[in-house]
Amino acid sequence: MLDTVFWPLVKIVVLLNAVMISVTFMTLLERKVIAWAQSRLGPMRVGPYGVLQAFADPIKLMTKEDITPANADKMMFTLAPILSLVPAFVVFAVIPFGDDPLYYVADINVGLLFLISVTSIGVYGIILAGWASNSKYPLLAGLRASAQLISYEIAVTMTLVSVILTAGTLSMVEIVEAQRETGWWIGFIQPVAFVLVLIGGLAETNRAPFDMPEAEQELTGGFHTEYSGMRFGLFFLAEYANMIVISAVVVVLFWGGWLRPFPSVGALALLDYIPSWIWMFSKMFLVLYLFIWIRATLPRYRYDQLMRIGWKVLIPIAIANVVITAVVKVLL
């Protein structure tokens, strides 16, 4: 009982707290990095260098009025943010943050499949939000968002097949172990897959340059136009939690997870004294920084361009990548 329920529960609570705290600081980091990219200072008023802004924002969101529009579907309107937040949290169950069972909640043998299926549930929250609002902008944005998410999901899922071919397992822990055994991070063996998953990840999390569902110039606030207060806060939390998940997935699948650089080179064994979770978190931070950097750099795609890239560019490349990987694997 203690091992099957109590300790996992402690780990879950710690992990969820860590996720929520890092989401608040993630927003601060994003504002700061984009400000620096545009030669501004960013938030500076709250605390030294605006550090306490990370706490001021959630407090403001919590105390704001939470309006339900008169002709919205009341129950669905409340259900939508919950439905979008829960999958974003649950995915963290299968992500290994370190080499010890202490650092992950569950190591299930279909980890990657679980991850793909649970992240897909998030799309229900978005389409439900658009539908329940009973307002033009959220409806259009909800439709766009769901079409975008399912289009890019095909490309990403197809790409992950080639990663599984390389690693030979679906368990997230064993994928990292496979990278330790071969001594090669899969990112070096499958660079095309890495780029595809990165692009798909940006699209799945509605990040720039694929942030069509929230294109404020044409759809005002996107699918959460009608949301205010903490129900909007839940969507916000879900979006940034998804970003953290994607960064963790990219690191585990392509950049060796918790492994140190060059895991097979004995001369660098000194680096093993750095705990495994520090490697994991620093790599995740780099990927998250890359996401923000891309947002500060690239303009938004048009919607038809976005669908064209998803269906006509990414999917053929992904299929070709799977075939080439399989052929090479049989030949070697």
Partner: protein, 118 residues
């Protein structure tokens, strides 16, 4: 190994509890001032006179159907990819036949213009 899924189940329950708990907690401390205008849907200041749920482009339906077809076929490739070490040439040929049929459907959808957005 069904025991491995107990933490996952716990995680789902905790996540639901957190999401609902946040909403319940904030409903205690949030400010609220009733105003009829606030409850209108946002429409750039114009009072909406019709229901928002009207017709929308059939392409969304088309994309939805294509998604179901392609995503299910991709899921079939997962078990194949895991045991590829044992199947080798046999598995490769089998999957190439499967992929050929998949690509055939994909090319057909492309030629029919199902992937065009404008």
């Amino acid at each position: 190994m069904p025991e491995a899924y107990i933490p996952v189940l716990l995680f789902v329950l905790v996540a639901i509890a957190v999401a609902v708990g946040i909403l319940m907690f904030t409903s205690l401390i949030k400010s609220s001032k009733y105003n009829k205008v606030k409850l209108q849907p946002y429409e750039c200041g114009i009072e909406p006179d019709t229901d928002a749920r009207g017709r929308y482009s059939v392409r969304y339906y088309l994309i939805g159907m294509l998604f179901v077809i392609f995503d299910v076929e991709t899921v079939f490739m997962f078990p194949w990819a895991v045991i590829m070490d044992e199947l080798l040439l046999f598995g490769l040929i089998e999957m190439l036949v499967f992929l050929f049929i998949l690509v055939l459907g994909y090319v057909y959808a492309w030629r029919k213009g199902a992937l065009e957005w404008v």
